[in-house]
């Protein structure tokens, strides 16, 4: 595309979010609980997209901002122009994975999401032990939360045997049709 709004148009097509609606009031950032921890906060991210410059777009996709976003919806709840930032973040994360440019700082977060989905891919339900085990392997954070395990067991909060959905084929089919790879 040779237009001067290729990036924003593509985003709008995929998500129905029109980033040009944003007039940079910053209210989203002002209310964001993690704004301080992000490389740059949401309103700045939108400004980067508004420029429609490829280098700014890749800056966005490489940032940890999109992974830190908790989808708590504080931003859209208050946005005077109803720019759906959470939905935008979902899209940017997917794009970031596609382009294989996930921020190294955000790798644990993505690993967690993948472990989570893998856990339900085969059983249909989440098993927290499997989830934690896979997450630890993926991130090599072998000692994290180990202290929690005994007390969790005592309190009956962990189950070793995974519960499964009866119609497992159905679940696997859903995964195969939507997301082929969770590695």
């Amino acid at each position: 595309m040779t237009t001067n709004h290729a990036i924003t148009s593509r985003i709008q097509q995929a998500t129905e979010v029109d980033v040009d609606l944003c007039y940079q009031c910053g209210k989203c950032t002002a209310g964001c609980v993690l704004a301080d921890d992000m490389e740059f906060p949401s309103s700045y991210l939108i400004r980067l997209l508004q420029t429609n410059k490829e280098e700014n777009y890749s800056k966005v996709l490489k940032s940890n901002t999109i992974w830190l976003c908790l989808n708590c919806e504080n931003c859209i709840g208050r946005c005077p122009k109803e720019v759906d930032i959470p939905r935008l973040m979902d899209y940017l994360r997917t794009e970031s994975i596609k382009r294989k440019c996930v921020s190294p700082k955000a790798k644990p977060i993505l690993s967690f999401h993948k472990s989570f989905l893998n856990s339900i891919r085969y059983t249909g339900k989440l098993n927290e032990i499997n989830l934690i085990a896979e997450f630890k392997l993926r991130t090599m954070r072998l000692w994290q939360d180990v202290k929690l395990v005994p007390s969790m067991l005592i309190k009956g909060k962990l189950k070793f045997l995974p519960e499964t959905v009866k119609n497992r084929k159905n679940i696997i089919r859903i995964f195969n049709r939507t997301i082929k790879n969770t590695k």
Binding site: K27, T29, A30
Partner: protein
């Protein structure tokens, strides 16, 4: 047999260069009913007009077709020429041979033939034309001004000073409006009441102005020059002819805990009250909703304390019908209250206030004599945050438009605060500073440069209270969107200006249009800014859109001139191009069958019901439509809608138009 005269103009060479004008005249002359036909170089010139006049007299013409430039150019000229020769001006039609023929076609047979066809069509039309007389409507020499804020005051005074009568109605107990609530005014920082109150008094004392407070418009009928307004005079429960305004009653009233409208709920008033010390008229009314006597049937302390026996309970509202020639609507605006804003606490924090409330806190007439103390505990706030664009430019929850006045008053507030609280710290969160206006930008810069108000570009997401402080979570977008958190003692919201309550209902009563936000709509955004689409009804001030005082006063004077120019005429003269419902012999009286489906089609509400009554018994025989010629603007939409062809449009009748079309084609 008709005697039509045809006059073909060469327009120098503008027409004759491509149209054979001589031949057009010749061919026209051969047509049935044409008595005289000629061509001439400049028909609009003096000799040209004399030629027409002479021909009319000499040949006893009963109709004229001038083939010349566009009727939008010279129709009025030639009609006047005909009138001067004793021919009814509406017996003259213009064939547009210049803009629609000679200037758009090449020279040739087809072009001349087209000219002949156009002339032919109009010759046939003019044969069907009827002489019409301009409509004269008498004018009632009095104006009604609805609303007694600065807009209404200025309008009323300007009209009255031109020697015309004015009736002003104001729904609250005193005139003065929002301006009377303000402390100082931008960009000069002069005291609002000091400049306003003399004018309020002038209104009350002006021999040409009759003021009714506590009064509302109930009904408006009629049309330009001839309105009939019904006014509801709400019962004040006080006989003003006896009341001396001593105020004793207000000190005795036991119900003292009613949030005062004038003080935006920050102060309290009694049930019998004068809204503020400088009120005009300076006499109390009883607020029935809060009066113990009206609510519980007991009390009457005010009556007992009144030295003149002026209190009169249980008098009903009265209705008064007045006749006026023009109406000016100056009903002003409202601002959103703090409870509109969830993220700023739904109005539950006492120290989160609106700009209008800040005006009261900063006003010299406030109990603290203008010393700024916060509402919750009366402490002097050391840190104040001002938030601009509260509800404005917020299509999601507020209103999409810019309220326009907030940038300036917020700068003024911050400046007043800095002047009054030495060592105080004020922050303004803004998105853009819109300070277009004489001395406005300079004013805002002064706030920043001289009074050191901290301007931060960004919106505030949330305000919450902790340990007696208001935590304001904002952002500085100029620092790469850096979150900013301020622990403030008071937060002032520049809440959006919105249409006044009941604006929609009022507009419907008057048949004027309003925009999606219920602000009244002007007839043209640029060229008719104080007119409405209904002739004779004008607008001024913030009932039209948020406006500051200078703009409001300018609009008010503008509206006043429109009213005065209307009222200074004995009669309104209107083009007779209006629709009429036919009448015929009994027993039909009219072919109109009274289905009234045409009522909704008329943009001017000109279609009325007319009862045809038996002359002897007075019994209604039939109800038919009647077009009010004062309201009708002559669009003719009702004419082509009417199934039984009972309505026709003078100047463009069915027969005239039918004949023109058929004649065009038959030639």
């Amino acid at each position: 047999m008709s005697r039509i005269g045809v006059f073909i103009c060469h327009c120098g060479e503008n027409i004759s260069a491509t149209v054979d004008c001589e031949r057009v005249a010749q061919e026209a002359g051969r047509l049935e009913g044409v008595e005289f036909a000629t061509d001439y170089k400049y028909m609009c010139s003096d000799p040209g007009q004399t030629l027409i006049k002479n021909a009319i007299k000499e040949h006893h013409l009963d109709g004229v077709v001038v083939g010349s430039c566009s009727p939008r150019m010279h129709e009025a000229t030639f009609r006047k020429t005909c009138a001067e020769a004793g021919l009814n001006p509406y017996m003259c039609e213009i064939a547009n041979l210049r803009e629609h023929v000679s200037w758009v076609h090449e020279k040739g047979e087809a072009t001349t033939r087209k000219a002949i066809q156009i002339v032919t069509g109009l010759i046939s039309k003019v044969q069907r034309n009827k002489p019409l007389n301009t409509i004269k409507v008498p004018v009632t020499k009095c104006a009604l001004v609805i609303g007694g804020g600065i807009a209404g005051i200025q309008t009323a005074l300007d009209i009255a000073n031109c020697g015309q009568k004015v009736i002003m109605i104001e729904k609250s107990p005193s005139i003065g409006g929002h301006m009377s609530q303000l402390s100082e005014t931008f960009p000069t920082l002069d005291c609002s009441q000091c400049i306003l109150t003399p004018r309020m008094v002038e209104v009350a004392q002006h021999p040409n102005i009759t003021l009714y407070t506590y009064a509302e418009l109930d009904k408006l009928e009629g049309f330009v020059g001839n309105f009939k307004a019904t006014i509801r005079l709400k019962a004040k429960s006080i006989d003003y002819s006896k009341c001396t305004g001593c105020g004793l009653c207000t000190t005795k009233c036991p119900n003292k805990k009613i949030p005062s409208e004038f003080n935006e709920g920050l102060g309290m008033r009694t049930a019998i009250y004068v809204p503020f010390p400088q009120a005009v008229p300076n006499k109390p009314v009883i607020d029935k909703e809060h009066c113990l006597y009206y609510q519980k049937g007991k009390c009457k302390i005010c009556s007992k304390s009144c030295p003149t026996g002026a209190i009169e309970y249980d008098k009903p509202d009265e209705f008064m019908t007045i006749e006026v020639g023009a109406v000016v609507v100056t009903t002003g605006f409202n601002v959103l209250k703090t409870d509109f804003f969830p993220e700023y606490g739904y109005g539950k924090y006492k120290d989160v206030i609106t700009g209008l409330q800040f005006e009261r806190l900063a006003s010299a007439s406030w109990p603290t004599l203008g010393e700024i103390r916060r509402p919750s505990d009366g402490k002097i706030p050391q840190k104040v945050v001002f938030i601009a664009c509260c509800g404005s430019r917020d299509p999601a929850k507020g209103i999409p438009y810019c309220s326009k006045i907030c940038c300036m008053y917020t700068a003024k507030h911050a400046m007043l605060y800095q002047h009054k609280v030495h060592g105080g710290d004020s922050t303004v969160f803004y998105m853009d500073i819109r300070a277009g206006g004489k001395n406005y930008e300079e004013f805002v810069r002064r706030a920043i440069e001289e009074d050191h108000v901290n301007y931060v570009r960004g919106r505030v997401a949330r305000v919450y209270e902790k340990d007696g402080k208001l935590i304001v979570k904002g952002v500085d977008t100029l620092l790469g969107a850096e979150p900013v958190e301020i622990e403030a003692d008071m937060v002032v919201l520049a809440t959006a200006g919105v249409a006044s309550k009941g604006a929609e209902e009022l507009a419907q009563k008057m048949h004027i249009s309003y925009d999606p936000y219920h602000f009244f709509a002007e007839a043209h955004p640029k060229l008719k800014p104080v007119e409405t689409n209904t002739a004779g009804i004008f607008l001024a001030g913030a009932c039209q859109a948020p406006k500051d005082i200078p703009e409001t006063v300018a609009a008010a004077s503008g509206a006043a001139v429109k009213v005065v120019s209307l009222l200074s005429q004995e009669n309104l003269v209107r083009e007779p191009i209006v629709a009429v419902v036919n009448r015929c012999a009994p027993p039909l009286f009219s072919t109109c069958v009274g289905c009234f489906m045409c009522e909704t089609i008329c943009p001017y509400h000109a279609i009325e019901h007319e009862e045809i009554k038996d002359r002897k018994t007075g019994a209604v025989i039939k109800t038919i439509a009647k077009i009010n010629p004062g309201l009708c603007q002559g669009c003719g939409t009702c004419v082509s809608f009417c199934r039984s062809k009972s309505i026709d449009l003078e100047g463009y009748t069915n027969e005239e138009m039918y004949t023109e079309v058929m004649a065009l084609l038959n030639h």
